[in-house]
């Protein structure tokens, strides 16, 4: 398959605000993205010819921003509406090996939807994790250093080497990744599964690459500095920081001071990886 045949659904609803950068990232790499409003998938309040089906796409992308005011919890309303309307289509999409990605609010939606981490099935009935309020109690908005720790499972980061550091901005108030808060033993076992099954993709780090670095390097207090995760198959991927904001080097915060390095920004590889995955597999 050629890049232009890779069809990307950029899914949005009221409050989504990072869809343009996400669309542009795919478009600049030659793929065929399309803005799709949730109602077009639900088949509700649409005009003739506007309805879309997930079947028409290879990549489903949840961009960042907000959704439905982020009332109740960030991403909860978007997730509830998806579950109520196209749950079965989504499960099939994932089980067919197609790619699903989400950044920031997109990641929050995916966790509320039960497709990440989704320990025991493709989409679980009730969330098995949460992105809780940052420990600082404030909206954290600044560049963050991420260490790519995935050993090859995640199809969204195959173009990154293991151990590579990338500077990708974060902007969120609810990004503290947490697993069920019961006994310490059970919680530890679930984190161990994430490590053993190669589901952790990015961890916050300091300039030396230390993934135990505390605040401010870890902006939200996530245990083990978890910033991005994948599912069991590696085709569903969510991360709190925003790779679409650093597609080009000149949108990096140090560009005016240094003007060095390649023209590619640190977030570009994420889009390149998933497009290549689709081209090779569909």
């Amino acid at each position: 398959m050629k890049a232009e045949q890779v069809k990307v659904c950029i899914l949005r609803m009221e409050g989504t605000n990072c869809e343009q950068e996400t669309y542009d990232a795919f478009k600049r790499l030659g793929a065929s993205p399309e803005f799709v409003h949730l109602k077009q998938l639900e088949g509700r309040d649409t005009n003739e010819g506007e309805n879309r089906s997930l079947e028409d796409f290879h990549i489903l992308m949840f961009p960042g921003g907000f959704s439905a005011g982020d009332y109740i919890r960030a991403g909860a309303i978007f997730a509830a509406r998806l579950k109520a309307s196209i749950k079965d289509d989504m499960v099939k999409f994932i089980e067919d090996g197609k790619a699903v990605g989400g950044f920031c609010n997109g990641f929050q939606i995916m966790v509320e939807l039960g497709i990440l981490p989704a320990f025991d099935s493709t989409m679980i009935e009730h969330p098995d994790a949460v992105l809780h309020a940052n420990d600082s109690g404030t909206f954290e908005c600044r560049p963050t250093l991420l260490k790519h720790v995935n050993k090859g499972k995640c199809v969204w980061t195959t173009k990154l080497d293991e151990g590579e550091l990338r500077l990708i901005p974060s902007a969120h108030a609810e990004g503290k990744f947490m697993l069920p808060h019961g006994s310490q033993e059970k919680e530890d076992a679930l984190y161990q599964r994430l490590f053993d099954e190669d589901r952790i993709v990015f961890r916050y780090a300091d300039t030396e690459g230390d993934t135990d670095a505390a605040y401010p390097f870890n902006p939200n207090g996530s245990r083990f500095n978890i910033a991005g995760l994948t599912n069991d198959k590696g085709n569903v991927f969510g991360m709190m920081p925003h790779p679409e904001r650093v597609f080009f080097r000149n949108t990096h915060p140090d560009w005016l001071r240094n003007r060095i390095g390649p023209s590619e920004g640190d977030g570009r590889s994420v889009f390149e990886s998933v497009i290549e995955y689709v081209m090779e597999n569909f």
């Binding site: 909860a76 309303i77 509830a80 579950k83 969330p127 809780h132 309020a133 503290k176 697993l179 207090g221």
Partner: protein
């Protein structure tokens, strides 16, 4: 018709930055007698149901499906 309040709180041990920051502000404003603040969310709804039991069953479903994330939240249901 029943009027129901659902109180959503955080499980023991889950960080509550909103409560902690409110506590700090109260202390700074001279309310030193406040020893702890916990944030809660309250939903009040009017529900049509044949019985109280039926209403409780439906509200429990609502809590599991959207009003809470069972990973970190507790909930209490009260009839007014």
């Amino acid at each position: 018709m029943f009027t129901v309040e659902v109180k959503v709180g955080l499980k023991k041990g889950v960080s509550d930055p909103e409560g902690a920051n409110t506590h700090k502000s109260l202390e700074l404003l001279g309310f030193g007698e406040v020893k702890e603040v916990k944030s809660l969310k309250l939903y009040r709804m009017h529900i049509e149901a044949d019985s109280k039991e039926e209403a409780v069953k439906r509200v429990e479903e609502m809590c599991m499906k959207i009003l809470t994330n069972p990973v970190i939240h507790t909930h209490e249901i009260e009839f007014l």
